[in-house]
């Protein structure tokens, strides 16, 4: 057995169930954990309206230690802040575009007036750089929804322009059926960071000259690649506007191939974890704001499916794996009935990688807060002789060098 095989064996035997530092129950860890879930967006009450403010700008995101990429971020965070309202609230969102690209906001799953739907060139014109648009709608229906940019979604969504939108039901049937105190929002996404970088650079460069031409009143539909009707498009094609040569929106030639997978903007080992106690129910709101399917599997438990696209399921059913398709939201209830540290991850294991290296991606864990400290001792509970003195005759220094502390969990990364 050489070094690589040796470490691989060790990683296989441990990484499947162990992910986080041993002090994860410490106060500092719990404080840090709060930053790994969508931050609530405060509002100002203006008469009957709840008024929120969103802006977008370019920001550097670090999904995992040592790796960063440029993103488009609502209010400087990925995902954007969480908008949480009650059913029937009058909602006003002032959206300011601080970036040099065009954007809109689409309220995914919400029954808004069609002019508030955020589809560029269909329900509204795009919100141009340094411009503002005010969205107004009534909060309905209830449930777990999200918002995202609907302009250039291939780039803008995977670049970070998404956030959760929760419409609470004062008579929440789910809460009545499965009483809970704590809930968590998990927003999944997938990113081709090379595509994002190249496309955003090209878009920003192009917008420099487009903005200049706009300021001079010389911008036209051919440069904009937006036509009033088919006749205008056909006329432009006759005049030399020739797809695909004129269609220069996309920087790399191909379709984006995601190489980073995030939960709430983070990849393992920076993904959040879910605290639970024995006997407790927790509600988890799952949102897929990316373009990949995530087959989410929870170890050691079956969970209740309680809402689909925000709509409560009249007769919840149990499962342990759920396919979270793009644009989908599910609410699940996890019952704390099997104490331990349990992996909750995409069972398409290509997506628990960071740029192809396992472990990474959307790997996270369900952590019981009432787990006794001594259950973390490896040599006491592990059946693997490698951890015991009966196996290889190694002194304690050597064992410490190879295994580290005699305690789980550890941070397991590729060699």
């Amino acid at each position: 057995m050489d070094r690589r095989d040796f470490i691989a064996t060790g990683a296989l035997s441990t990484a499947g169930m162990i992910f986080f530092p041993g002090n994860l129950l410490a106060k500092e860890s719990k404080e840090l954990l709060k930053t790994k879930f969508p931050q609530p967006l405060p509002f100002k009450q203006d008469g009957e309206w709840k008024e929120f403010e969103l802006y977008v700008d370019v920001k550097i995101q670090e999904p995992a230690p040592g790796f960063s990429f440029h993103t488009l971020a609502f209010n400087d965070m990925v995902p954007g802040p969480e908008i949480r309202v009650n059913y029937g609230d009058k909602v006003r969102v002032k959206f300011k575009n601080k970036s040099k690209l065009n954007h809109t906001i689409h309220w995914h799953g919400m029954h808004v007036p069609w002019r508030m739907d955020g589809v560029p060139m269909v329900s509204q014109l795009s919100v141009m750089p340094e411009n503002e648009f005010i969205y107004e709608f009534e909060a309905k229906p209830i449930g777990t929804h999200f918002y995202h940019c609907h302009w250039g979604t291939v780039l803008h969504m995977q670049a970070g322009m998404f956030g959760s939108l929760i419409v609470e039901d004062p008579n929440d049937t789910i809460k009545k059926q499965f009483p809970y105190e704590r809930e968590y929002t998990l927003i999944y996404s997938a990113h081709d960071v090379n595509f994002i970088r190249q496309e955003m650079n090209r878009m920003l460069e192009r917008m420099e000259e487009r903005s200049y031409l706009m300021s001079k009143g010389r911008f036209d539909h051919e440069r904009w690649a937006v036509f009033n009707n088919h006749d205008q498009l056909n006329e432009s094609i006759k005049n030399g506007w020739e797809p695909p040569y004129a269609l220069n929106r996309r920087a790399p030639a191909g379709i984006p191939q995601a190489d980073w997978f995030t939960v709430n903007g983070k990849s393992y080992p920076d993904t959040p974890y879910l605290f639970i106690k024995s006997g407790e129910n927790i509600r988890v709101r799952l949102i897929n704001a990316g373009a990949e399917i995530h087959n989410l599997h929870l170890h050691g438990h079956d969970f209740w499916m309680v809402a689909d696209d925000g709509i409560p399921i009249p007769q919840p059913w149990k499962r342990n794996t759920v396919p979270l398709t793009p644009g989908k939201t599910y609410d699940i209830i996890i019952e704390g009935n099997n104490r331990g540290i349990w992996t909750f991850h995409d069972h398409d294991t290509r997506k628990v990688t960071n740029n192809g290296l396992y472990p990474g991606g959307n790997l996270l864990a369900l952590v019981y807060e009432d787990l006794p400290e001594d259950e973390l001792i490896i040599s006491k509970y592990s059946g693997n002789p490698m951890y015991k003195n009966t196996g290889m005759n190694m002194n304690s220094n050597m064992k410490s060098m190879l295994m580290g502390d005699d305690k789980l969990p550890k941070i397991a990364l590729d060699e």
Partner: protein, 402 residues
């Protein structure tokens, strides 16, 4: 074998594996391929009989098919530790006929490491003998005016002036100011197997990154470069002295409009010369005598649908060798047009009129009309792209990512 010996062997295997990097996949670097094919039909009409043995200078009229300056390059780039990046480039070009360089000239064989503020280059590559680039068909079309000339060259090829084996260090200040120190081994006609450094110099260049061109600043580029050749002192045989040249350059955005773009570039080269050269009897005298040269070019670029459509350039240059007894100067007028006929594909037309006067006539001939029509196909593609350029708009305006 005792147990502790086994343990040592075991540990040895563990730790030796890391040095060889022999197993498993290495990280595939970015791979860049670039080529340019420039093919022209050239018509020459020459007056005067030059002593320099270059076929295209021969008196009379002639028409040739020319594919010189076409090139192929392949490079690889990847991230190194601590924010550095490494790069290698291998490339070859096709020199003019009968230039003594063979069918193919390996003009790029170099390695480079760089981070945000530093660039170190080692190997054969483009030298610092010119600053900026002019929109002529080929880089060497007005070389006598916009390049510091290699005094070790025989003059029968232009690559001697463009490429050398270099050791180069550049420090970048505030993303725009490039300060470079360099040493070169220039190709020597009389001593072709000597690979020691025979040139040193430095340059300071202020350069607005390409991604910032639409900021509409008037100065696009400005800089000075000093190149000093370590050369035998004709007045003291056996000892060496330096032949110094100073180049200065400015590139101005006259009308930085996205549709009707106009810029102007101007270069001046001062050759401080060797003492005692008062006649032009050889190409050595031409490159080693005191001289002043100027070359300027104005360009109009028409862009359609955010891509170049056509381009028209007009340029002129003048060079005076002030110390030559009988007087010696030369001038050039050049105009050309590129018209895009497809993606990466251009139709080209260029006219150049070059006159030599005084003692330059016996060496280079009296005058030349050159008319060229041709096609150019250039292509550049990065595969497995995995990090950004220093000068991208994201890195410059939204925080540099190592």
């Amino acid at each position: 074998m005792k147990k502790y010996q086994l343990t040592i062997v075991f540990l040895g295997l563990i730790f030796m594996q890391g040095y060889g990097q022999g197993r498993g996949e290495d990280l595939l670097p970015e791979i860049e391929i670039g080529f340019k094919t420039i093919t022209t039909g050239n018509y020459f009409s020459n007056k005067g009989i030059p002593s320099l043995n270059i076929p295209v200078l021969n008196e009379g009229e002639r028409t040739v098919s020319d594919f010189s300056d076409s090139y192929f390059m392949i490079g690889a780039r990847q991230k190194l530790y601590k924010g550095w990046r490494g790069q290698m480039v291998l490339g070859f070009s096709f020199p003019d006929a009968n230039t003594g360089l063979g069918q193919v000239f390996y003009n790029q064989i170099m390695a480079r490491v760089e981070n945000k503020k530093n660039i170190i280059t080692i190997g054969r590559t483009t030298t610092q003998t010119t600053l900026g680039s002019f929109t002529t068909f080929r880089d060497d079309d007005v070389m006598q005016f916009n390049y510091i000339l290699n005094p070790f060259s025989s003059g029968i090829n232009t690559e001697d002036n463009q490429y050398a084996n270099v050791l180069e260090y550049t420090r970048i200040f505030k993303n725009r100011l490039y300060v470079t120190l360099h040493g070169e081994n220039y190709q020597s006609f009389s001593n072709p197997n000597d690979y020691s450094l025979n040139g040193i110099g430095g340059s300071i260049v202020y350069r607005v990154p390409e991604s910032q061109v639409w900021k509409r600043e008037i100065i696009k580029e400005i800089g000075v470069s000093s190149v000093n050749f370590d050369i035998e002192n004709p007045n003291s045989p056996g000892s060496n002295t330096y032949l110094s040249n100073l180049a200065s350059y400015v590139g101005l955005n006259i009308h930085p409009d996205p549709v009707h773009f106009v810029d102007f570039k101007l270069m001046n080269i001062t050759n401080f010369g060797m003492d005692g050269i008062s006649d032009i009897t050889s190409y050595d005298d031409y490159t080693r005598s005191k001289s002043q040269s100027f070359f300027g070019m104005v360009r109009y670029l028409n862009r359609k649908l955010e891509r170049p459509n056509y381009q028209i350039s007009l340029g002129g240059g003048y060079k005076s060798l002030s110390e030559i007894n009988g007087g010696a100067n030369q001038y050039v007028l050049i105009t050309n047009m590129f018209y895009r006929i497809g993606n990466n594909f251009d139709f080209l037309v260029q006219y150049r009129y070059h006159v030599n006067r005084g003692e330059l006539i016996p060496l280079l001939g009296k005058s030349q009309h050159r008319f060229q029509v041709g096609l150019s196909f250039s292509f550049n593609k990065i595969f497995n792209n995995q990090f950004d350029d220093r000068n991208s708009i994201l890195n410059l305006e939204h925080g540099y990512i190592k």
